[in-house]
């Protein structure tokens, strides 16, 4: 229901004061000149005062003849001027850094937006740190982020659509994709899911991510959250759909597959053979991280036959004084590692460094010497913890650390049978997952050999002229493979 702006000056000022509940921050100034009374309102800290005093007040007060609505809008050298008739939208504009100019006798108000926003400058990436390649990370400001994205994706094909999410406190959300490339269905799914959200407020883009994910019961993330503009833009250039949320430095990209979570942008910047090696290392470390500790528990509880005889003596001797069964021992140490990680993350950086020493040397060494755990298990646990930290996605790393616990318990209860059961369960679970309705385990299932060269391996770019087909881009061909493969200077005999 629209509420009209009062025509009487006293009523106008009173109703604004009342709307802001006599806030001391609502500044009003009344100017009278040229036989005309002008009232301006703004919120003290929301307005860029320098600009206000330089660009708005001098032309306003130095006028030779009385102001009209038209002249106010056109003669003041500010780009953002708006005529507002509705009282509640006036109030909203004031919150967003507007300066309202009210001429007594008019039914409308002209609002100039001179917002002041303090936010940090573009900075180096912290959570997804890179050795080389572009270093900047997104900030909390949506405008800055959009600016970076526009700058990186220099094409008018880039489509940005605006949404508002939240019933009580609204957040601005932008869906970003390449019109000529992104699959219509993916874009629609993303847009529809954002539109369908029913919630009072979203705290951050990670919350939005959880709201639009396909399955909320799984531990595996289905959409990638990243703070790296290069990763975000590369994905969009492959035909994926991206989402930016105001006030959040993390962007969301989809659809994704399990294997995308083990890709780092650095693989792309490295030479292809080194990139492939590092990517393989990450897959290996995932397997190590999941399987190694349960294998230890299973072998020492049930299957002493499978232990290599050269390892048997050292294993047995290290276990001889441990008072717990292997499953408890392993769980204890796993929890210890999790405690260390959590404590290290919560503590201030300066104190955090001592955590490593306390945990690694004091606790580890003392636990072994006291006969609390076997030193071989300490190695295994440390190795699998280390392996889980190699996942480039923090979400995926956490997921892998979590699924280790049921694996260890199953290994302790059923031995190798338990491990196989857990692994089968895991595979079935992953097969059922979807990301924006697209299969999560592609290109392994549904199998597509040509997509392997960009996902699991990292072949030279000349050899990989296709965009990943499981993203279903409108155009799969990246470039002409034949022309890309030849270098003119070398082709002449």
């Amino acid at each position: 229901m629209e509420r009209r702006i009062p025509v009487k000056k006293e009523l106008y000022m009173e109703s604004l004061q009342k709307h802001f509940r006599n806030s001391p921050d609502l500044v009003n100034k009344t100017f009278t000149f040229n036989r005309q009374t002008i009232v301006i309102h703004f919120i003290n800290y929301q307005v860029n005062k320098d600009q206000l005093e330089r660009d708005l007040l001098p032309p306003l007060t130095n006028a030779k003849k009385p102001w009209t609505m038209e002249s106010l809008k056109n003669a003041i050298p500010l780009s953002s001027s708006e005529e507002i008739k509705d009282f509640s939208s006036l109030a909203r504009e004031l919150i967003h850094g507007g300066v309202s100019v009210y001429i007594v006798g008019y039914e409308e108000v002209v609002v100039f937006t001179l917002p002041k926003q303090d936010h940090r400058a573009l900075n180096r990436a912290e959570t997804e740190s890179l050795v080389f390649g572009p270093q900047i990370a997104f900030t909390e400001s949506l405008m800055t982020n959009l600016n970076v994205v526009r700058w990186r994706l220099d094409t008018d094909d880039l489509t940005v659509e605006k949404f508002l999410v939240g019933e009580r406190i609204q957040s601005e959300v932008r869906v970003i994709y390449l019109k000529s490339l992104a699959n219509e269905e993916n874009v629609q799914t993303m847009k529809q899911r954002i539109e369908d959200i029913v919630i009072d407020e979203i705290e951050d883009s990670t919350v939005l991510n959880q709201l639009i994910e396909d399955s909320s019961s799984t531990v595996f993330p289905q959409l990638i959250t990243t703070e790296l503009p290069d990763r975000f833009c590369n994905s969009i250039a492959k035909g994926r759909v991206g989402v930016l949320v105001d006030k959040s430095p993390t962007a969301i990209i989809g659809p994704m597959t399990l294997f995308n979570f083990f890709e780092s942008t650095e693989d792309t910047y490295m030479r292809w053979n080194i990139g492939t090696f590092i990517r393989m290392l990450r897959f290996l470390s995932m397997v190590i991280s999941i399987v190694l500790t349960p294998m230890y528990v299973a072998a020492l509880t049930y299957h002493y036959e499978i232990i290599p005889s050269s390892l048997l003596v050292s294993l047995g001797q290290s276990r001889a004084t441990v008072p717990f069964p292997p499953v408890l021992e392993a769980l204890l140490l796993e929890i210890l590692i999790e405690l260390l990680r959590e404590a290290g993350a919560r503590l201030p950086t300066k104190v955090g460094q001592t955590m490593g020493i306390v945990g690694g040397i004091v606790l580890g060494q003392a636990a072994v010497q006291a006969g609390f755990t076997s030193n071989i298990l300490v190695i295994i646990i440390a190795l699998s913890a280390l392996a889980s930290f190699t996942a480039p996605s923090y979400m995926m790393g956490s997921a892998i650390r979590i699924i280790r616990f049921p694996m260890i318990i199953l290994a302790g209860a059923w031995g190798l049978i338990g491990i196989v059961f857990a692994l089968s369960f895991l595979v079935i679970h992953l097969l059922r997952q979807k990301s924006l309705g697209r299969p999560y385990l592609a290109p392994i299932y549904p199998f597509e050999a040509s997509a392997l060269r960009g996902t699991i391996f990292r072949l030279p770019f000349q050899k990989n002229a296709k965009r990943p087909s499981y993203v279903m881009p409108k155009d799969e061909s990246r470039f002409d493979k034949k022309r890309a493969g030849t270098k003119r200077d070398r082709s002449s005999p």
Binding site: L300, Y302, S309, L312, V313, G316, T321, V322, P326, A413
Partner: protein, 377 residues
């Protein structure tokens, strides 16, 4: 949801039914020796790992007398606080007296017990196995059983003895026309060594093949990849090729040659309806490592002559070995098996072959090629 709870409940409840074997509570047997005891009983000696972080010796040896091989373990369980398990048995020893009576009654349980690996090694010992396993000398291995296992493993790998895993023994035992062999162990100043090869008639140990002859049996048994071979040749065989100005006069002393990197290609031909006269064709490539006389190796002819002499020498030794086999009526080479594989008429049987072995008339044709010999000035 109901299903998941059911699975979890099942997991929790059934957990108690799975027998647990915590490694530190086990006495893990790594080697078993069987000796002849009185009144048809067997005495078993077991080397078990003992996990004590303070003790220097990480294993102990226990013995028990019983009627069956599983009975031994049962009896020996009374001598240790650990539960004896046989999942890590890698070595099985038989005393020669026991082996002469036949080892199959012990093999049966070993091959049927799924916990015991089929890749474990078998051996015969001409001293009581208890003495062998209790002798303290084990080099860097944790115990004597482990030492013997490594010794045999290395010997097989270096092609010094044939494969003596449990599976190949059983295989050769049940195959018609081939007999199993096992290494014969002995002690020399308390230390275990391979003394020769025990030849078996079915499952009975009948005769020993001396250590020098093992390689010649191996030549007949399989294609070698990288073996070593020592051979004595007639003293004057190469007298035309002695170096003119030799530093040491080469006229006296015996002529020995030492070959390594021996690679052979064996083919045994059998004639139809005639299982007892196979012909062996052996192609050998080798490197001349050592020769005790000063031969002028630069002469092409000298090498040809040397190759011929080596071939002749090998043929002689091969026929000596086969003669020994004929005397004992054993066929570890598998001449009978070879015939049965090729021909469908007049096939040999388990019973008939034993008598036919002594009629064997094997012809040999050995080709030797020296690939590298080196030249000294």
């Amino acid at each position: 949801m109901k299903k998941i709870f059911l699975v979890l409940l099942l997991l929790l409840v059934c957990n108690g039914c799975v027998p647990k074997s915590y490694i530190e509570q086990l006495g893990i047997i790594t080697a078993i020796g069987y000796d002849q005891a009185e009144e048809d009983q067997v005495k078993g000696t077991m080397v078990i790992f003992q996990f004590d972080p303070t003790a220097t010796a990480s294993s102990q040896v226990v013995s028990a007398v019983a009627d069956t091989s599983k009975g031994i373990r049962f009896r020996a369980n009374r001598q240790t606080s650990h539960r004896l398990v046989s999942g890590q048995v890698r070595l099985l020893l038989f005393e020669n007296k026991l082996a002469e009576k036949g080892v199959m009654r012990y093999m049966d349980t070993l091959s049927r017990d799924a916990k015991i690996t089929d890749m474990g090694f078998l051996s015969v010992s001409d001293v009581p196995t208890e003495k062998l396993l209790k002798s303290g000398i084990s080099e860097d291995a944790p115990n004597t059983g482990n030492y013997i296992q490594r010794l045999i493993e290395k010997s097989i790998h270096q092609e010094m003895i044939p494969n003596v895993e449990l599976t190949s023994f059983i295989h050769h035992y049940y195959d018609v026309g081939i007999d199993p062999v096992l290494p014969l162990l002995s002690t020399q100043e308390e230390k275990t060594m391979i003394k020769g090869l025990a030849l078996f008639q079915n499952d009975r140990f009948v005769q020993t093949l001396s250590e020098e002859d093992i390689i010649f049996l191996l030549l007949l048994k399989k294609d070698l990849k990288d073996a070593e071979l020592q051979l004595q040749l007639p003293n004057e065989a190469l007298q035309n090729y002695y170096k003119k100005r030799s530093i040491n006069p080469a006229t006296d002393g015996e002529l020995h040659v030492s070959l390594n990197e021996v690679e052979t290609d064996l083919s045994i031909q059998t004639k139809k309806n005639d299982p007892v006269s196979p012909s062996v064709h052996l192609k050998m490539e080798a490197r001349l490592l050592e020769i005790t006389k000063d031969i002028d190796l630069k002469q092409r002819k000298a090498i040809r002559k040397l190759e011929d002499e080596i071939a002749k020498g090998i043929e002689e030794r091969l026929s000596l070995v086969v003669n020994q086999l004929k005397e004992e009526k054993v066929d570890p080479v598998g001449f009978g098996k070879e015939y049965n594989e090729k021909h469908r008429t007049n096939r040999i049987t388990e019973e008939s072959w034993r008598d036919q072995i002594s009629q064997l008339d094997v012809s040999f044709d050995v080709e030797v090629k020296l690939l590298r010999y080196g030249i000294s000035e």
